[in-house]
């Protein structure tokens, strides 16, 4: 084979790979929305229409289903609490990492990432036992604590890169102009970091919103939407599953899309 044809073949493989990845991500989402927005009768039918019929029967059935609204509200509460906790703890840690040199800084950064190395199923049983002993089981706060441990590493990393991007000189200028450390932070650093912190908060919200394993293991009465759907998956009709799935995915997708540039920043990809 000649050189250009090799390159052309390579190009084709690349394009095919990209197409495959796009399909991998978009096909389930498309299926989800088509089915959620179709009449219950159409859901089981095949072939699918590319544009759904925008029949809201499935969705209204879903939201009318007993327990759904409660579960949805629980999800919101847990996610909001997770958001507050992980930013409340993560942002100061990110700030400290970006501004101070302390012994063990690199180890600390490594440990932050390492917390994600333990699979939740491994921790679930001891956690459940501990939660039952302390009375944290089946509570909003208990689940939010677990979700915070999941979201915290990201909160730390995102805010760390965020604060590192704000020149120390600005803070020092504020000190020389009459600010103490706290004032300089609130008057100069916070306004500059606020959009990024908000993005990091949204990301924490989404992590909690999507989390199903801990939610299923640690709650019984106060199920979040994910746990509720998992529980009723076998027994519920297909339209309900699709509508539930769409209700879960839509906010997550929307939020992540809104804050994508900060998530790229976290991984050190050029901030566009």
């Amino acid at each position: 084979m000649s050189e250009p044809s090799v390159r052309r073949a390579g190009n084709r493989v690349f394009i095919a790979g990209v197409a495959l990845l796009i399909l991998w991500v978009l096909l389930p989402i498309w299926l989800l929305f088509v089915n959620a927005l179709s009449a219950p009768a159409e859901v089981t039918g095949f072939p699918k229409r590319f544009i759904p019929s925008f029949d809201l029967a499935s969705l209204s059935f879903f939201f009318g289903f007993s327990g759904v609204i409660d579960a949805l509200w629980n999800s919101v509460k847990v996610a909001a609490l997770t958001m507050i906790l992980s930013i409340g703890v993560g942002a100061p840690a990110g700030y400290a990492l970006s501004r101070f040199d302390f012994p063990g800084k690199e180890t600390f950064r490594f440990l932050v990432v390492m917390t994600r190395a333990f699979p939740l199923p491994l921790l679930a049983l001891p956690l459940a036992v501990m939660f039952i002993r302390t009375g944290l089981d089946d509570t909003i706060i208990g689940l939010a604590l677990v979700h915070t441990t999941l979201a915290l590493p990201f909160a730390v990393l995102i805010t760390y890169s965020l604060f590192s991007g704000i020149p120390l000189e600005l803070e020092e200028a504020a000190w020389t102009l009459g600010c103490n450390r706290v004032q300089a932070f609130t008057k100069v650093i916070l306004p500059l970091a606020a959009p990024g912190i908000a993005a990091s908060a949204v990301f924490a919200f989404v992590i909690s919103w999507n989390e199903v394993f801990a939610a299923a293991v640690l709650t019984v009465e106060n199920r979040t939407l994910t746990a509720f759907l998992l529980q009723s998956l076998d027994v519920s009709p297909l339209p309900l599953k699709f509508a539930g799935g769409a209700a879960l995915v839509l906010p997550a997708l929307f939020f992540i899309f809104a804050v994508r540039k900060y998530l790229f920043a976290m991984w050190g990809i050029a901030n566009r």
């Binding site: 000189e169 600005l170 200028a173 020389t176 009459g178 103490n180 008057k187």
Partner: protein, 345 residues
């Protein structure tokens, strides 16, 4: 009223010593320039005075008050940073007003002071803008205005002009000098640019390797360098140095010529390139390069195998390979101790 006294201030970064026991007193309302090559510790010293860095040893006094344990906001200083540090989320007005608001000044007084300093720095038409909408030179003006509005006892500036292009730098230099002369502040100004230092300073502190080598007025620093380093650092082209051998008490032979010098064991002969003129008898110099510069001609030669430069009348045009005789102006000859590198007599 703010005299600044720096007493035996030292600073280590781990095993590295950035400042060795620095002593310096800066008079009230004096314009002091810290001059030295990059990495010699100028910024470190300035930041110690500002309170942004803690000295490893020593004391800092401002206006008769020991301040080295105080945070920056309690030292009565204002600082202009190298990259301006104009707050991007505030308008120019709010930037200049920032320190005044921290002092809980009432709105009328804030407006009065912001307007006045903005006029002084010629940025009154920019007050509503954000720093992203300003050029480098305009940001520089905002940074200076913000410091001046505080009416501080002391203004500290770290290479404030180094990010401007050459023409703007010249313009801002003259303007800064005027503005600061009218304010009653004591100024410490850091630069590595000797021309900037000479043109601005009441006094220059020449730094080298974490030490202050000489603190004197610009002419003194230029004419009577206290150390070989000062002569070789200041002046463009720098001072010439030649080895000398003693031929009698106070008599030294340099490249075959005899000059009166110090009574010492050993000495090095030094003269500035512009203090030389061609003569029948003088240092025999073999011409290497001739550079006509308009008003003068820069001639690079070797004298007794050592590099030697002269700035001559532009009517004189020696050719490479010629041997010319260069006579130093007698009272401009300087002598240095080769062991300590400091000036003799």
């Amino acid at each position: 009223m703010a005299v600044i006294e720096i007493k035996q201030v030292a600073k280590n970064f781990g095993a590295f010593t950035a400042l060795h026991s620095v002593d310096l007193t800066i008079a009230d309302q004096e314009f002091m320039v810290l001059l030295g090559a990059s990495g010699c510790g100028k910024t470190t010293l300035l930041r110690i005075i500002a309170g942004l860095e803690t000295p490893t040893a020593g004391e800092v006094w401002i206006g008769g008050r020991r301040v080295d344990h105080l945070p920056p906001r309690e030292r009565g200083i204002a600082m202009v940073f190298q990259n301006y540090a104009v707050f991007p989320h505030l308008t120019v007005f709010e930037n200049i007003a920032f320190g005044l608001r921290m002092k809980k000044m009432d709105q009328a007084e804030v407006t009065r002071r912001v307007t006045r300093t903005a006029e002084l720095m010629h940025i009154e038409q920019l007050l509503k803008r954000y720093s992203g909408e300003l050029s480098g030179g305009q940001r520089q003006r905002v940074a200076v205005a913000r410091a001046l509005a505080m009416e501080p006892d002391v203004i500290l500036m770290d290479e404030p002009l180094s990010n401007l292009d050459a023409l703007l730098r010249l313009e801002m230099r003259a303007e800064l000098k005027g503005v600061l002369a009218e304010s009653n502040t004591t100024t410490i100004y850091v630069t590595h640019d000797q021309v900037e230092a000479m043109s601005l300073a009441d006094r220059i502190s020449v730094m080298n390797g974490g030490r202050i080598v000489q603190a004197a007025n610009p002419v003194e620093v230029y004419r009577n360098p206290a150390a070989r380093f000062v002569g070789s650092f200041i002046g463009n082209p720098p001072m010439n140095f030649l080895t000398a051998t003693p031929v009698g008490p106070g008599k030294w032979q340099v490249a075959g010529q005899t000059y009166d010098g110090p009574h010492a064991q050993a000495a090095e002969f030094a003269v500035r390139p512009e203090d030389l003129h061609p003569a029948d008898h003088g240092l025999p110099a073999e011409v290497r390069v001739v550079e006509p510069l308009g008003p003068h001609t820069l001639v690079t030669t070797t004298v007794a195998g050592q590099p030697f430069r002269a700035v001559l009348e532009s009517t004189l045009m020696p050719r490479p390979g010629d041997v010319i005789h260069l006579a130093p102006v007698p009272d401009r000859i300087r002598w240095f101790d080769p062991a300590t590198q400091t000036a003799l007599c």
